[in-house]
Symmetry: C2
Subunit: 262 residues, 2 copies
């Protein structure tokens, strides 16, 4: 059950350092909240960028050390990408969805469809990387639902409040230009808000009203998180009312056999 909010506040939580491999993300989140004087309350949602988790998990890969397979070399030729990057993409993927010059869209091992398996090369240099190493790539986090649950447990333990946690990435889309924030890990917040069966203004039953709640939360957080340059990997969304849920982000993924486009 979700109570639709009349008012939301969306705040970038300051004080999150640039994390490095091995850092304790739940502790960092809790410290940032405490440092900012934010007492979480029931229904707060904390939104954490995938990049922060990836860095903490040490998901850096030095492309110079990647040996592309013959299949990756062949595919790389078709899409005009670095064969080592394509090798990483294939390792992270269950299947290729679309390929074209400059474009490689896959179904990620976590289930969702995303360009380049969500691998990022724009901010990917680990601290202490030797001069001349790389280029570096940064893979998506290992298990975003579990990471969301760990952050949630830490924050709930400190505050006693029931909160939600969403791990986000920015995805491109078919049909539409520009990227939007999407949820790749969820804990506590219902990923989908199913309102089928509720009567509308005129007493008819709403037919087609399952809202991608966690994706919309990810989108609003993306508006204030900006890109990495802003260093705002932690956003608080306050004002949603919801009952705790145990569903993860896979609830948002349309299964391949039900997808007319995948």
């Amino acid at each position: 059950m979700i109570t639709c909010s009349h008012r939301l506040e969306v705040v970038a939580v300051p004080g999150v350092p640039l994390v490095e491999p091995g850092d304790d993300v739940p502790a960092i989140v809790q410290r940032a909240l405490a440092g900012a004087g934010i007492a979480t309350t029931d229904g707060d949602v904390l939104v954490v960028t995938s990049k922060l988790l990836s860095r903490a998990e040490g998901r850096f890969v030095d492309l110079a050390r990647v040996e592309p397979s013959p299949a990756a070399i062949e595919l790389a030729r078709g899409v005009n990408k670095d064969p080592r990057a394509v090798e990483l993409i294939l390792r992270e993927s269950a299947s290729v969805s679309r390929q074209a010059p400059g474009v490689l869209v896959v179904r990620h091992r976590l289930g969702f469809v995303v360009a380049n398996a969500g691998i990022d090369s724009s901010n990917a240099v680990p601290a202490g990387a030797p001069p001349g190493s790389g280029p570096w790539a940064l893979l998506l986090p290992e298990a975003p639902d579990a990471s969301a649950a760990a952050i949630r447990a830490r924050v709930e333990g400190a505050s006693g409040a029931r909160v939600g946690v969403v791990i986000t990435d920015s995805f491109g889309r078919p049909f539409r230009l520009g990227t939007v924030g999407v949820a790749i890990g969820v804990s506590g917040l219902p990923p989908l808000w199913d309102r089928r069966g509720e009567p509308d203004l005129f007493g008819r039953v709403l037919e087609n009203t399952i809202t991608a709640l966690a994706d919309q939360v990810a989108a609003v957080a993306d508006l204030v998180a900006g890109q990495a340059a802003e260093r705002r990997p932690l956003v608080l969304v306050r004002g949603l009312g919801f009952h705790p849920s145990d569903e993860g982000a896979s609830a948002l993924v349309r299964r391949a056999e039900e997808d007319l486009y995948a």
Copy 2:
């Protein structure tokens, strides 16, 4: 140029009546703002649901009066829909994107790809509809960019502030379950936020960072607008910083020939 916000406020503006054909939407919006004591300031974005505009434009259609073409009858058989509804969908569309039992996805005449041409049948009864009439359908607004511009002109005229206006609908998506708010009309707010060329934390140039700003604004408004039952067709998003733009919602549409999925 957009200044990424540290804090957003998102508020459902109360006092919007159920509109009927012929109602003056810009005046209704301005009256609701004034009635709620909201003085708009530079950078405010007003988000209006497409349904409010459609009702004001009298975009109701009584399916009993629709004569399906042979092509609509044939297509309706394949997708297991009412041939009259399919006829309306085809009239509103440039082409069919995908069809399957229960599913008809089209490229709308306005450019975007959407199920059922965005035609809604859940709330679509006009005031004064004779008993036994219908079933009724409600088409998307005629020209959402122009409607957004008219609302913007009215609000800016009353306040002197530079604002943005976004007209929204809820769309389903390939790959992912649940609907999200998207922008089908835009005025003032840049639909896309192009950050290519800005340096990241490490001085590298960001490569893939065009954000679908207006779609993300639509998503957050959808979180507070809820479905029609909530009667919250007007949402204020405060805290984004942007320079006025003259681009409409078509800036968000990927052209068919560049779309690997359409």
